[in-house]
């Protein structure tokens, strides 16, 4: 599988940012040597996974409101098949961390992440989740959620506009579409 094969409706490959990360990722995969049949099956699975990302909203502040705008009629996250917001972490696929994570909240974030079923992805939305944002110098703020859970996609903004979040979700879809399900040694 080539990175160029990963198509997202509406945006051509060249106009995506940070393509080099995916290219490196694919090179790493191809070093293992992927069987053709298996990779077709992988494509089916990845198609399913990337088009049915059920989010779990870990919203602690204003970015959560922006997510609501994303889910509402004007932007409509349902177009991506992602409107099934599961409130139980066991049933969700992508955790959208939207908001400041303080040290008291951090263990809970970690616990919710641990409760999610594989495959699970994390999307850090907004400055606070990415780096601590304006509160970064406070004694009580976690400087970016990647210190607690592995983050797949960072969506900068304060808060990001709904289209920004869509763009981030499409980046995540691209990443998911390159994954390997069978014979993955890391699993």
């Amino acid at each position: 599988m080539d990175v160029k094969d990963v198509k997202i409706k509406g945006i051509p490959y060249a106009e995506f940012k940070h393509n080099d990360y995916l290219e490196d990722y694919v090179k790493e995969l191809q070093a293992n040597g992927v069987n053709v049949v298996v990779s077709k099956l992988d494509e089916l699975i990845n198609w399913g996974r990337s088009n049915s990302m059920w989010p779990l909203i870990f919203a602690t502040s204003c970015c959560g409101i922006e997510f609501m705008a994303t889910a509402a009629a004007h932007h409509d996250i349902a177009r991506f098949g992602m409107e099934v917001v599961r409130n139980s972490p066991r049933q969700s696929d992508v955790m959208i961390v939207a908001g400041t994570i303080v040290h008291k909240m951090a263990p809970l974030l970690k616990r919710v992440y641990d409760q999610m079923a594989e495959p699970k992805y994390v999307l850090a939305m907004g400055g606070c989740a990415i780096s601590g944002g304006p509160f970064v110098d406070s004694y009580h703020v976690v400087e970016g959620v990647e210190k607690i859970v592995p983050v797949d996609v960072y969506v900068p903004g304060c808060p990001p506009r709904p289209e920004s979040l869509f763009y981030g979700l499409m980046q995540l879809q691209r990443k998911v579409k390159l994954e390997q399900f069978f014979f993955n040694k890391e699993r």
């Binding site: 509406g10 004007h74 990415i130 920004s164």
Partner: protein, 170 residues
């Protein structure tokens, strides 16, 4: 008592029917959804006041207007901007501090516009390009001045300030 029961029942049924009528009307209204990735070249509307990422405009000679005065860096409440200077020697043999690297952490910025407002030479503006999601945190830390760019000469600055961004207009 029994009168209440029945009038309540009928009132309830009536109000439920009114509610269902409203949703029925809603079913046939025009759908308001803006389809983002499909419309990004056509009808996508981003307000001029939207601030998505900090940029440093360069002209065709690869020159920018930043004098590396560090006002933006001191004014930034988050410590998002880092201006790194270097010392060069001008033709007259004087030593002068110019901009070496202008570092900007997009993941930390709250887009408060203080840097743009206070910049004495209008070297930086906020752009509307909101598609900035990346896979790694490092990618969000950008260098705004391009490779090999240098400070614009004084005479060019006499031009009317057409490039001023909209938020400053009061």
């Amino acid at each position: 008592m029994s009168g209440n029961y029945f009038s309540g029942l009928f009132k309830g049924v009536k109000s439920l029917l009114v509610g269902m009528g409203e949703t029925w009307k809603e079913l046939w209204t025009k759908k308001v959804t803006a389809e983002y990735p499909e419309n990004r070249k056509t009808t996508l509307f981003v307000s001029d006041r939207w601030r998505a990422t900090l940029t440093m405009p360069h002209d065709e000679n690869n020159e920018h207007a930043c004098t590396s005065c560090k006002v933006c860096e001191t004014n930034c409440p988050n410590g998002t901007i880092q201006v790194i200077q270097k010392v060069i020697e001008t033709e007259e043999g004087k030593k002068k501090k110019v901009l070496d690297r202008y570092l900007y952490d997009l993941g930390m910025c709250t887009f408060c516009n203080l840097c743009v407002l206070t910049c004495p030479s209008d070297a930086i503006v906020f752009s509307k390009d909101f598609e900035n999601a990346t896979f790694t945190r490092d990618r969000l830390k950008e260098q705004l001045n391009k490779e090999g760019s240098k400070l614009r000469e004084k005479k060019k600055e006499v031009k009317p300030e057409a490039e001023k961004s909209a938020p400053e207009a009061e």
